[in-house]
Symmetry: C3
Subunit: 474 residues, 3 copies
C-alpha cells in the first residue's frame, strides 16, 4: 500500500501539480481573510454568556450534528444510542464517551463526505489532532478534546477571535425576545453577532403549534393580535427591533415555492379563520404564499435582505418525529418550480433596487434552468451558495459549473456556512475557499479567466460578495 501522494495542506486544490500550483496561489490570497458568516444556527445564548462552553465531544460532534446523526442512523444505529432522548422520556444514556466511541467505530461511513472532511480538518486545525480517528484511539482523543473544550480558550467568544470571524449571524424566531442579542449589544458585540428575523412559526397559520407561537409573539410585543392588520404591524415592529440589534436579513424556509398577492380583505378573512382554528390547508398555503409577497414588500421598505430556502420537506420520517420531535425527522428535498412560483413576487418587487432577495435550493436541476437565468436578469435576485447536502466539494463544483456562465459572479451572494456548530465554521469556510480556488485555477488553465480575474473572484467568493449581499459593513 502506497500512502496518499497529496499532503493534507493541499487537499481539494487539484489532482495534479499544475492545477495545485495555481490553486495554491489563489488559496493563499484568501485563506486568511476574515470569516463572514451571515447565515447559520449557532445559538445566540452561547455567545451571550462569556462562561459558556460548547459541550462535551459526543454531544458536540454527534448528538448535535444532524449530518452525523443521519448517516449513523441510516446504518441502523438507534438515536437513543447517539445521545438523543425520546420525547417524554428520561435521558437513557448518560455517557458521552460511548456516543463518541460510536462515531469512532463507524468513522469510515464518512469517507468522502463533507462531514468526514470537516471533522478531520476541525480535529487537526482546531484541536491539533492529526491522527485519524479509529476505534482504538477514540478514548484518548476524547480526553484531548474534552480538556480543551472545557478551557477558557474554547469559550465561544474566544473562538470568534481565534477563528477570525468578523461577523456571525444567528437565526432567531420572530417571536423571540432576543435577550442574548440584547446582552451582546450592550457588551459591544452587536456588530459582530447579529440576529436574523425568521417568522416561519408565526406565518404558518395551518401548523399545529401556530397558536402558541402567536401567543409568544403577542407576549414579546405586549400587544394583542386580534386581526390581520395588527399581525402585519407587529411583524413590522419586530423587524425594526431585530434591525436595532444589528439584523440585516430575514430568513424564510418553504417546502413548495409559491408567492401570491391576496387582497387585504381576503388575507384578513383567512387570518380570522386561523384565529378561530378553522383555516383549511389550502387557505394556509395561500396565506403563506401571500406572506412571502408581503415580506418582500416590507424588505423594500426597511432594507432587510430577504433569504428564501425552498424545497425541503420537513420531518419526512413521521415515526422519528413522533418519537423525538421536529428537526430530527429526516428532511428530504422535493422538486421546485421557481419560474412560476416566484413570478408574482418578482412582478411586484423584482425590479425594485431596494430589494435584495437571496435564493437557495436543494434541487440542483433548477441551477441552470431557473436560478441562474433569474439572477442574471432581475436586479433584486442573488443566488445563495450550495445549500446543506450540496455544501461539499462536488456540490460546489456543480454549483459553479451550472450557474456562473449565465449569472456571472456578481449575482452570487457569496458563502454562508449554515452551521449549527461553532467549532465547524472554519472547516466549512476552508472547504469552500479551497474548492472555489481549485475551480478557478482550472478556468485559468483552460484560458477562460486570467489569473488577475481569478484572484479577484476568489476574494469575492471568500467574503466580498457575502458582505455586500447581506449589507454588512466591513
Amino acid at each position: 500500500m502506497v500512502s496518499s501522494p497529496t499532503p493534507f495542506s493541499d487537499r481539494l486544490l487539484g489532482t495534479n501539480e499544475l492545477e495545485r500550483r495555481l490553486a495554491r496561489r489563489l488559496y493563499e490570497s484568501v485563506a486568511d481573510l476574515p470569516i463572514v458568516s451571515p447565515h447559520g444556527h449557532v445559538p445566540a445564548e452561547l455567545l451571550a454568556d462569556p462562561e459558556a462552553r460548547l459541550g462535551p465531544p459526543g454531544r458536540l460532534f454527534v448528538s448535535n450534528d444532524h449530518y452525523v446523526l443521519r448517516m449513523l442512523y441510516s446504518q441502523g444505529i438507534r438515536l437513543e444510542q447517539l445521545g438523543l432522548t425520546p420525547l417524554g422520556e428520561e435521558p437513557v444514556e448518560g455517557d458521552d464517551r460511548k456516543v463518541w466511541q460510536r462515531l469512532a467505530d463507524n468513522f469510515q461511513l464518512f469517507s468522502g463526505t463533507p462531514s468526514g472532511l470537516w471533522t478531520a480538518a476541525t480535529l487537526a486545525n482546531v484541536f491539533g489532532i492529526e491522527e485519524r480517528l479509529t476505534s482504538v484511539n477514540a478514548q484518548a482523543i476524547y480526553d484531548l478534546l474534552a480538556e480543551q473544550l472545557e478551557s477558557a480558550e474554547f469559550a465561544p467568544r474566544a473562538l470568534l477571535d481565534r477563528f477570525g470571524i468578523e461577523v456571525l449571524a444567528t437565526t432567531d424566531a420572530a417571536e423571540s425576545g432576543l435577550e442574548p442579542h440584547r446582552r451582546l449589544h450592550e457588551e459591544g458585540w452587536g456588530k459582530r453577532v447579529r440576529p436574523t428575523f425568521r417568522p416561519e412559526a408565526v406565518t404558518a397559520i395551518g401548523s399545529p403549534g401556530w397558536r402558541e407561537s402567536l401567543e409568544r409573539l403577542e407576549a414579546v410585543c405586549e400587544r394583542e393580535i386580534g386581526d390581520y392588520r395588527a399581525f402585519l404591524e407587529v411583524l413590522e415592529e419586530r423587524r425594526a427591533s431585530f434591525k436595532a440589534l444589528g439584523a440585516t436579513a430575514t430568513d424564510h424556509a418553504t417546502e413548495t415555492l409559491q408567492t401570491e398577492r391576496l387582497s387585504e380583505q381576503e388575507a384578513g378573512s383567512i387570518f380570522r379563520r386561523a384565529l378561530r382554528a378553522e383555516v383549511t390547508p389550502g387557505e394556509a398555503e395561500r396565506f403563506g404564499a401571500h406572506m412571502l409577497w408581503e415580506t418582500a414588500r416590507m424588505s423594500c421598505d426597511d432594507g432587510l435582505v430577504m433569504q428564501i430556502r425552498a424545497g425541503s420537506m420537513r420531518d419526512h420520517n413521521s415515526k422519528l418525529k413522533e418519537r423525538f420531535g421536529s428537526d430530527i425527522g429526516g428532511d428530504i428535498p422535493v422538486a421546485l418550480d421557481w419560474t412560476h412560483g416566484l413570478r408574482p413576487l418578482l412582478a411586484a418587487h423584482g425590479n425594485d433596487p431596494r430589494l435584495r432577495l437571496i435564493l437557495s435550493t436543494l434541487d440542483e436541476s433548477t441551477y441552470s434552468r431557473e436560478l441562474a437565468p433569474l439572477a442574471g436578469h432581475y436586479p433584486a435576485v442573488l443566488l445563495g451558495p450550495p445549500w446543506w447536502f450540496h455544501d461539499s466539494p462536488n456540490g460546489i463544483g456543480r454549483y459553479l459549473d451550472s450557474i456562473t456562465e449565465t449569472a456571472g459572479f456578481q449575482n452570487l451572494a457569496g458563502f454562508v456556512d449554515d452551521a449549527h456548530n461553532l467549532i465547524a465554521i472554519p472547516a466549512r469556510h476552508d472547504v469552500w475557499r479551497r474548492a472555489t480556488c481549485a475551480w478557478l485555477a482550472r478556468k485559468v488553465l483552460i484560458g477562460i479567466l486570467d489569473e488577475e480575474d481569478a484572484t479577484r473572484i476568489a476574494g469575492e467568493l471568500a467574503c466580498g460578495l457575502a458582505r455586500r449581499a447581506f449589507r454588512l459593513p466591513e
Copy 2:
C-alpha cells in the same frame, strides 16, 4: 501576480499540455471548415441590402444583444441607459458612445461567461483588438470599431465571405412577405441565405396580437382565412413559398410541450371561436398542441425539417414587457416533460422516414432522462445543440456528457449559433469547435475513442451533422 499560462490561441483546448496537444490537432482539422448556420436571427434585410452596415458599436454589442442587456440590467443598470427606448417615448439617450462606455465600465461582469468569451474573440479576431476592454481604453476602442464597422469590408455580405459562412438561415414569420429573401434569391444569394418558416404568431390563437398576425397572413396570401380549412391551406401555401426561396426548415417555440390530434371538426370549431375572439386559454393551448401535430404531418409531406424549442416562458418580467415591449422581458426556462408531451406526435409520425424533428431544450435534466433515449430510438428525432444559456463551455460539456453515450453522435443535429448578431457568428462556432475538440481529446486520452474516430466526429460536429440534419446541400 503571474500572468495566465494559457495563450489566447489555446483557450478551451484543455487544462494541461497533454490534453491541449491532442485537442489542438483535432481543432486544426476543423478550425477552417466552412460555417454552416442553419438557425439564427440575423435580419434578412441586412443581407438583402449591399449597402447595409451593422450599426455603431454600442448598438451592435449592447443594445441589440439580449445576453449583454440581461447581465447589465441584473446589476441595476436601467435599460434606458443602454440605448433602449420605452414604448411610446422618444429616444432618450442618443449617444452610442455612452452605451459602449457602460459596457466597458462593467466588463468584468462578463468574466467566465460566454458573452465575455465571444466579445473578446470578436474584438481580437474580427477587429484586431487584443487589448482587454477597460473603462480607460473604451473610447479609443470605440473609434477603432466605429471606423471599421462603417467600411465596405464590414458590409454584411462581405462578412459572409470573410467569415466563411457557407449557408445562413434566418428566422421569418409565416406572415412575412419575404421581400429581402426574394431580393437575395434574384441576386444569386438564395442558396447561401435561406429563410426559416416560423408560424408562431398565427398559430397562437389565444394571444392578444393574433388577429393582426392573421390579417398580415391574409394580406401576404391575398386570400381571406374564414375557417380552419383555409388556414391549413394557407400555411401549406406559405411553406411552399418559403421552400421556393430556399427554406429547408421550420421553427416552433413553445412554453410547455404538448402535442395532440384534434378531430378536424374540433379544430375547426376552436378556430371559429378564435375568429370571434371567444376562445378560452385551454382551447388555445389544445389548438397549439394540435398545430404541432399538424406541422409534423406537413413536414412529412413537404420535407421541411421541423425544429421544436420548448420550455422558455417568454416575458417573465411583466413590468419590463409593459415598458419596452416583448422580447426584452426576461425569458426564463421551465421544467419540461418531453416523454408524455411528444408521444401523440411521435405515435403518428415518429417512425416516418420522411420526418426530421430537431428538439432543443433549456431543461438540462431532460438531456439524459428523455431526449437522448428519444433520439436514440425514434428514426425521426434528432437533438439540437445546447441552446441559449447552455451554449457555453460548461454547457457544451454537460450536453456531450449526458447525451452521446445514449444517443451516439449521429442522432445529433450539429451546431446552430442562434445568433442575432452577424458579427458574433465566428466566435460562437469557434467556442463550439474548441469545446467539442477538447471533449473529444479527453475521450481519446481515456481510451474511449481512438484519434481517427475523434477526428471524424470533430468534423461531423463542426458542420457535417448540421448539413445533413437540415438537408443542406454542400
Copy 3:
C-alpha cells in the same frame, strides 16, 4: 493521423499517467474478484440445460440486444432487417450473417457508447478478436465467433466458470413454475444461479394481459384466486417457493412511483372489480401503489430484499409495440417524485431493520435531490447502481459524484449488470470496476480519500456491497 496513446488495457483508468498509475493499482486489486450478479435477465433455461448454446452471432449481438436494436433503428434500419419478426408473420430473414453484417456496417454509430465499449471488450477478451469490427472483416469475424459459440467451452455453465461468476440471479415472473431453477437446484447449482421474484404481471390489475397472468398463477399454485385474501396468500406462498430455490430478492418496475396503504376492505373491493374486468385506471393505479406497500410488509416478514426500478414508460412507441409486441417499443424515462411517492411505504417500514429496499432510477436529477438524502437517512434504503442508459462511464461518474457525498458508500447496493446477455457480463462489470477505480483515484489525488480507503471502497463497489445488500453468502 497519430494512433491513440492509450493502450486498450488502460482504457477508462484516467486521462494522464498520474491518474492512471494510481487507478491501475486500485483496479488490479479488484479486476480478478469474483463476479456477483444479483440482478439481470439471463434466461434460466440457458443455464438449466448443459447442452444449451448462446446462439449465432447476429442473434446474440443484435437481435437479442435492445441497446443495439434501438440505435440501429434510430438511424432508419428496420427491425425486420435486424432479425425480428412482426407478430403473426413468418420469419422474413433467415440469414444471421446479414444481421451481423448490418451491425458491422454501422458499427461507428456506437462510438463513445457503452454498447461500443462492451462489444469491443467482449470480442477481445472473450473471443480473442482485437481487430476493430468493420464492413470488410465482418464475415471473417462472424466465422470466428460462430465456431466458438457452438463449442462446449461456450456452453452457458462453462462460461459461468470461465467468467468467475460467483452468483447470478435471473428475473422470474411470480407465475413462473421455476422449472429451470428446480433443475439447477437438483443438480447442485442452486446457490450459484438464483431466481428473483417479479410479480408485476399479476399485480397490474388494469393491464390487458392481467387475467391470463392470474390464471397462470392459479395453475402454478393449483389453487383458485377468488378474492384479495387468496391473492395475498398465493403471493406469500410463491415468495416462499422462490426462496426455497435460492431467491434472495424481489424486483418491481413501476412507471410512476406511488405507494399507499389501502384498507383490506378497499383493496378487496378493487380486486373484485378487477376479477369482473370492471376496474378503472385510477383504481388499478392505487392498487399498484398499495401492492408496493404490501410487498414491503412481506419483505419485513420473509427477508427477501425489495428492488424498485421506477420511472420508465414502457412501449412509448405504440406502433412498434403493435407490430412486434411488448419490450421492443422504445421505453422512455419520465421524471420521478420519490420524496412524496415513497413516504407512505417508508412511514410504515422505512425504520424496520428487517427491510432492505433498493432504489433505481433513470431520472438522474433525483440522485442528489432525493435518493441520496433518503438513503443517507432511512435504515431500510439502499441505492442501486446507475441503471440502463446510465450504466456507462459518464453515467457512473455522475452517479458517484452526485450520491456519495450525501449517502456515503455503505448505503449503496454495489453493482448489478442487468444483462440479458450472458456473454456481456464480464465487460459490464469491468467497465464499472475501471470507472469506479478511476473515480476513486481522482479522489485520492485531490486529497479526499487516502489510498487505503480507496482500495477498501473499490473492493466494496466491485462485489462486497452487492453481496451484503442482496444477502448473498460469500
